[in-house]
């Protein structure tokens, strides 16, 4: 499972793209241009990136309220994402969904989700469709440490395992569900240990190491494609920002935040790639410049796009 240089650069690029996108969102949210709630993915980029790097466009994911990273990693278009966040008609959901509901069914993205634990049962359904049709598609369910306690998540793992569905449950353990530390919401130390309750493999990986995530997910995806059923991968990571923008984050101490920021997944990969000569400072600048241009274009697109007309409220309820 050795990664090609191209793949590593691709993953690096994706992580930077997520980070920069989120940084823009932070800025425009603060400026009052983005309404509603936004939950930023900064600090957790390696999880979505390492996971989706294993997948093809035909594979499915279900995302969460903290979904921008998943969407970008799965190939989501920054323009339509940004336009959606701005509530514009040209956005992924024509302005109807916003941050918590961005989806691109054509890319297998079955939506961000405003309901904690909402994605597991749906990921199963997509995987069931693959199994039913005999394709080799898989479905990845992203979910948080908080979501791992939700009954729907646990039911989903049970069904996936009982039916040997091609699902990979990717847990993003960032240590908190809003203000509640993981250790207060569950007695178990590792969420991966729950895999045994459903007789599926469960592993813990360093969620800030994109290669480790990639490798663990690749193994689980192989297993799923072979018809051997689901796996649970717990990625230990950390969110740098508050739960949502606007959260003063009084429940975490600064030392903890700093120690995790020191483990920045992007910096880490960057240094490794520079060291190995896979990335150069020039190449890095090039990548960052390209992303900056892409983002500028996305923001311009979002800013210039029209708002939906009020009467559009009535459209798209039924097929």
């Amino acid at each position: 499972m050795s990664l090609t240089e191209d793949k590593l650069i691709q993953m690096y690029t994706t992580m930077v793209r997520i980070r920069e996108f989120e940084t823009k969102v932070e800025e425009f949210f603060a400026a009052g241009k983005i309404p509603g709630f936004v939950h930023l993915y900064i600090g957790e980029e390696a999880v979505a990136t390492g996971t989706c790097a294993v997948l093809t466009d035909k594979d499915y994911i279900t995302s969460t309220h903290r979904g921008h990273g998943h969407l970008i990693a799965k190939g989501g278009d920054l323009k339509r994402m940004m336009a959606e966040l701005f509530g514009k008609k040209t956005g992924y959901c024509k302005g109807k969904g916003g941050s918590m509901h961005i989806a691109d069914v054509d890319l297998g993205i079955l939506g961000a989700n405003g309901i904690v634990g909402g994605g597991g049962p749906i990921a199963n359904g997509a995987a069931l469709a693959a199994q039913y049709r005999g394709t080799d598609q898989v479905a990845v369910c992203f979910f948080g440490d908080g979501a791992s306690n939700q009954g729907t998540t646990q039911e989903a793992m049970n069904l996936a395992s009982a039916w040997k569905l091609p699902v990979v449950f990717v847990n993003e353990n960032n240590g908190y569900g809003i203000s509640c530390p993981t250790c207060k919401s569950m007695a178990v130390a590792d969420i991966a240990d729950r895999a045994a309750a459903y007789d599926m493999p469960g592993v813990v990986v360093d969620g800030n190491d994109v290669v480790a995530v990639y490798e663990a997910v690749a193994e689980a995806v192989d297993r799923a494609r072979r018809g051997d059923g689901p796996s649970l991968i717990e990625c230990k990571t950390y969110r740098w920002r508050g739960h949502f923008e606007g959260d003063a984050c009084t429940y975490r101490d600064e030392a903890e935040v700093q120690s995790w920021m020191a483990k920045d997944p992007i910096k880490r990969l960057r240094e490794k790639l520079l060291e190995q000569g896979i990335l150069t400072e020039d190449k890095d600048r090039e990548i960052r410049d390209a992303i900056a241009r892409e983002l500028e274009a996305a923001v311009a697109f979002a800013e210039e796009s029209p708002l939906p007309a009020p009467e559009e409220v009535l459209e798209d309820v039924y097929a």
Binding site: G97, G125, A129, L159, Y318
Partner: protein, 324 residues
């Protein structure tokens, strides 16, 4: 026309749609070799095998979610919730996920799934196995809600439901499973959003759903003996809802009684009454009366349960109240 029970009609619709379309499949608790708690899926496992008739664990959220995800991926699942009363553990997957996906995604998803489930009191199954919850589903944009009262409609509405590209909640009444009626052998559809006038009349309009249709038809017989001519209408689907047929009827009869088995308070009968009070007010010559269950859970003991379920007398009394 051949005679079949309501249950057989549903079973036949499932079978014929599964024969027609390989993307249609069934999931639910004990729907496989057991044939379903009430026997609705009998024989389908034998005909279509385990792949298309899937027994599930007792996890209703996982069932509805699996249907939703599979539908989003292009299949046409028909899932069964053994009793409508169990929906409380799984409503999120239906009302926040399946129902809203299309809208939230800006029209870019299709969720062609059916959730079949029996409702209703009358078998001594008590408070957690006897409810009628159609009002909840009808309040959810994105869902369609069908509620057949006859074997003919059961088959035709179910086929429509399966072919529909939206999530449809298909509410069967467990006391109607044994009811016989004319049901063509070939597949056919009954359109959504088209009420059925079961009996024409001139003095009062009775709108009734599910088992209450039959109660109301009996009441109409009784009223006829007293010289009162009741028109009896079954809306058949609550979403979409055929306002026109009911308004037209009220314009003719000038009176409305609404009958359902669910509790009256915030029941769907209120919606029917409210629509008529807005759209046909000038044609009404007296109050709109609702006949429905009292505001209590469903009791177990037969005399209590019978007191709970609206009866022929209740309908007759209601009509006489406005036609005195």
């Amino acid at each position: 026309m051949p005679t079949k029970t309501y249950l057989q009609a549903i079973n036949e619709a499932l079978r014929q749609e599964m024969e027609r379309d390989p993307d249609v499949f069934i999931m639910g608790e004990d729907v496989g070799p057991f044939g379903g708690c009430f026997g609705v899926t009998k024989g389908l496992y034998e005909q279509f095998g385990e792949k298309r008739v899937k027994d599930t664990p007792i996890t209703e959220s996982a069932i509805i979610g699996a249907a939703t995800g599979a539908a989003a991926a292009g299949l046409r699942p028909v899932c069964e919730i053994m009793f409508v009363d169990f929906i409380g553990v799984a409503l999120d997957q239906l009302f926040n996920q399946a129902a809203k996906m299309r809208y939230m995604f800006g029209g870019k998803a299709k969720i062609p799934m059916v959730l079949r489930t029996p409702q209703g009191a009358g078998i001594g199954a008590a408070a957690q196995h006897s409810q009628s919850l159609e009002a909840w589903f009808a309040h959810v944009p994105g869902l369609k809600v069908a509620m057949p009262a006859t074997p003919y409609d059961a088959k035709g509405l179910l086929i429509t439901a399966i072919r529909d590209d939206n999530p449809v909640v298909f509410l069967e009444h467990k006391l109607l499973y044994g009811l016989e009626g004319d049901v063509p052998d070939e597949p056919y559809t009954v359109p959504f959003g088209k009420a059925q006038v079961h009996r024409e009349g001139t003095d009062v309009t009775i709108v009734a759903t599910a088992k209450m249709l039959h109660t109301s038809l009996e009441a109409a017989d009784v009223l006829a003996k007293d010289g009162m001519s009741a028109e009896v209408i079954d809306p058949r689907t609550l979403v979409p809802f055929d306002t026109d047929t009911i308004v037209e009827s009220v314009k003719k009869t000038h009176g409305l009684v609404v009958v359902h088995e669910a509790v009256k308070h915030a029941g769907f009968g209120a919606e029917i009454a409210a629509q008529v009070a807005e759209l046909a007010f000038d044609y009404l010559d007296g109050p709109i009366v609702r006949v429905a269950a009292p505001f209590t859970p469903v009791p177990f003991s037969p005399p209590l349960e019978q007191a709970y379920i609206p009866g022929v007398d209740d309908v007759v009394t209601a009509v006489k109240k406005i036609r005195a």
